[in-house]
């Protein structure tokens, strides 16, 4: 700065350049108080947006308590299964229902059998009950006419081990099932145990086939072992079959899984003017924004309502990036440095490239179904998302086509509202890695409607998110 400017600076430092005449102070403060009151009212209204979130938490907690209660009931049943009245199948007439359990029994291999359920239905209940299970390695064969002495036995071992490798005691008749690997036919119980080696593991997937009208009752802990082979009861099923259906469905409803996912996505913004005077701005905004890769991580909880229908909810953190590209040009005139008498006219162009960023906390509520084929399952989730904007920073075009930064100290307005809904479509592919573990690959399509805001006056603002996510799902309760 040269002497001339220094002198000017020294003069202006203590110079009272202007006074405050002409300002109506009363009107000024009255308007300020009015505006501040409106802002506080808006903040109060913002709290209402959290009500759905609180409601959702209450819902999830209630569902969790419900399933937890069911689990406790089942455990209690397992612990009291020596009492005939505490039958798992809860038959209305339980005088002929007997139980056998192995709580304190050890198999010859030193392992405990998990559960044994024996049902001895009366003729009144299931007059035509019969069961034939065929398999290369073993057979069940229960005569139709000898119901009083017939038992249906299902033995479940832990997932590793033989299907029929446990000891069991039939309490009513004190009948012992042999635990020898080559079991003989037990005539007294009319149960024909496996003829051959019984050490075939579950992985060998024996092809069990239940014939028409046959019923196999299993505890909730054992049903998953033969689940793929169960025949769903028909419409004219007997009362006993309905019990199977009841147990089967109740067991499926208890299934809860959690999933952890991460992935990337692109966010395509869409602006539409609601006023014909805004079309230039709409065009500039739509052409000025380019999508860039963002990322998301989510934790989900999946409730299996039925075998096919499930509800998914959870929390998701979404971080999106958009490139804002905008050019302005203007003319300016200046004195030529070479010849002071020449005035040069130049055009200046200003190109703004800025990476807009925003992060969102989302709670999806999705309804889904799938089709299974072996280890693979193809499914789809549909639903809505409750989205809460955590942060947003960037530049965009203001009302008068000037480049505005948000947020800044002088302007608290932002383009994306604090809360908004999104609509989800998520096809997915599951691969069963192990008994309780699945790998899921899915694509996300979300329509996010931000509505109108004070930042984009007379403009509708929405976006479409397309993404790819991968993750694992762990079954917690079966």
């Amino acid at each position: 700065m040269d002497d001339f400017l220094n002198k000017l600076k020294a003069r202006t430092e203590n110079l009272r350049l202007f006074n405050h005449e002409g300002v109506d102070q009363d009107a000024l403060w009255a308007n300020i108080e009015k505006e501040i009151g409106e802002v506080e009212t808006k903040k109060t209204r913002g709290f209402i947006f959290f009500l759905p979130f609180l409601f959702l938490l209450f819902f999830i907690g209630s569902v969790g308590l419900y399933f937890n209660k069911n689990t406790e009931e089942r455990v209690n049943m397992d612990n009291q299964d020596t009492t005939p009245q505490n039958s798992i199948v809860e038959l209305p007439l339980n005088q002929s229902t007997s139980f056998c359990n192995d709580d304190d029994k050890q198999s010859q291999l030193g392992k405990k059998a998990k559960n044994i359920l024996i049902k001895k239905p009366t003729e009144k209940l299931i007059p035509e009950l019969s069961l034939t299970v065929e398999h290369p390695n073993f057979q069940f064969n229960i005569p139709d006419n000898d119901m009083a002495s017939t038992s249906i036995v299902a033995v479940k071992k832990e997932s590793k081990g033989s299907f029929f490798e446990s000891s069991a005691e039939l309490q009513n008749s004190n009948q012992q099932i042999s635990t020898n690997k080559e079991m003989a036919v037990d005539e007294s119980t009319k149960v024909i145990n496996p003829k051959n080696q019984l050490n075939n593991s579950l992985d060998e997937k024996p092809s069990l086939k239940a014939k028409e009208k046959n019923v196999l009752l299993l505890t909730s802990d054992t049903i998953h072992l033969i689940e793929p082979f169960l025949i769903q009861p028909s419409s004219n099923s007997t009362l006993g079959e309905n019990y199977v259906n009841k147990i089967y469905n109740r067991t499926k409803r208890k299934k809860i899984s959690i999933g952890l996912f991460s992935g990337t996505h692109l966010l395509y913004s869409n602006y539409r003017s609601t006023n014909s005077g805004n079309q230039e701005r709409e065009q500039l905004l739509n052409s000025g924004f380019k999508s860039q890769l963002g990322y998301s991580v989510s934790a989900e909880i999946i409730f299996n309502l039925t075998d096919k229908i499930k509800i998914t909810s959870g929390i998701e953190y979404v971080y999106s990036i958009n490139q804002f590209n905008y050019s302005t040009a203007w003319d300016t005139t200046f004195q030529s440095p070479q010849n002071p008498n020449i005035i040069v006219n130049r055009m200046f162009k200003r190109n703004v490239i800025h990476h807009n960023r925003h992060s969102i906390f989302s709670i999806p509520i999705l309804l889904g179904t799938d089709i299974r084929n072996g280890r693979l399952a193809l499914g789809i989730n549909l639903g809505v998302g409750l989205n809460f904007t955590l942060s947003q920073k960037g530049k965009s075009l203001g009302d008068d086509l000037e480049v505005l930064e948000f947020p800044n100290a002088e302007n608290s307005l932002s383009p994306i509202p604090e809360f908004f809904f999104s609509y989800h479509l998520c096809p997915y592919l599951n691969y069963q890695l192990s008994r309780n573990l699945k790998f899921q690959l899915r694509s996300n399509f979300k329509y996010q409607n931000y509505g109108t805001s004070d930042f984009y006056k007379e403009m509708g603002y929405s976006s479409i998110l397309t993404g790819l996510q991968a993750g694992i799902i762990v079954d917690l309760i079966k």
Partner: protein, 158 residues
Amino acid sequence: MMVAICKRYLWNSSDMQDVLQESFISMFNNLNQFDVNKASFKTWSSRITINTCLSFNKRSTKNSSEELILNLHAPYIDPNYIDSMSDEELIGYLEQMPFPYLQIFNLFIIDGFTHQEIAEMLGIKVTLSRKRLARAKEWLQKTITDKNEFCKKYIFKQ
């Protein structure tokens, strides 16, 4: 203080009350961002008022074009001449200064912002900020000289 800032920075001084109101509201709404360890309240509130004025000018001058064709063949003026000017005379010169120059003059000379900060605040290049300051100085020198010559030629001769 805020009134003085508004008067210095506003293109149209009749908007002063609106801008003051906006400035106060911004201050109240963003009071939680004020950090006494970073700046005094005076500095912080001045910055908000200046930013509000600049935004307001942008909006109000969007469609207006300004004639910047000036014959800037500025003669040399002894810097000590500034001291001999009265307050009213100096204010009179500044009030006549073309607005783009006055904006840079205010920001750089009076409020002490750097060219980099000015460029960010106004959305212009740093070189343009420097040019405008140089031209503000030339304009002032030329205007003072012209007035003095006018006085010499027409007033003092009478």
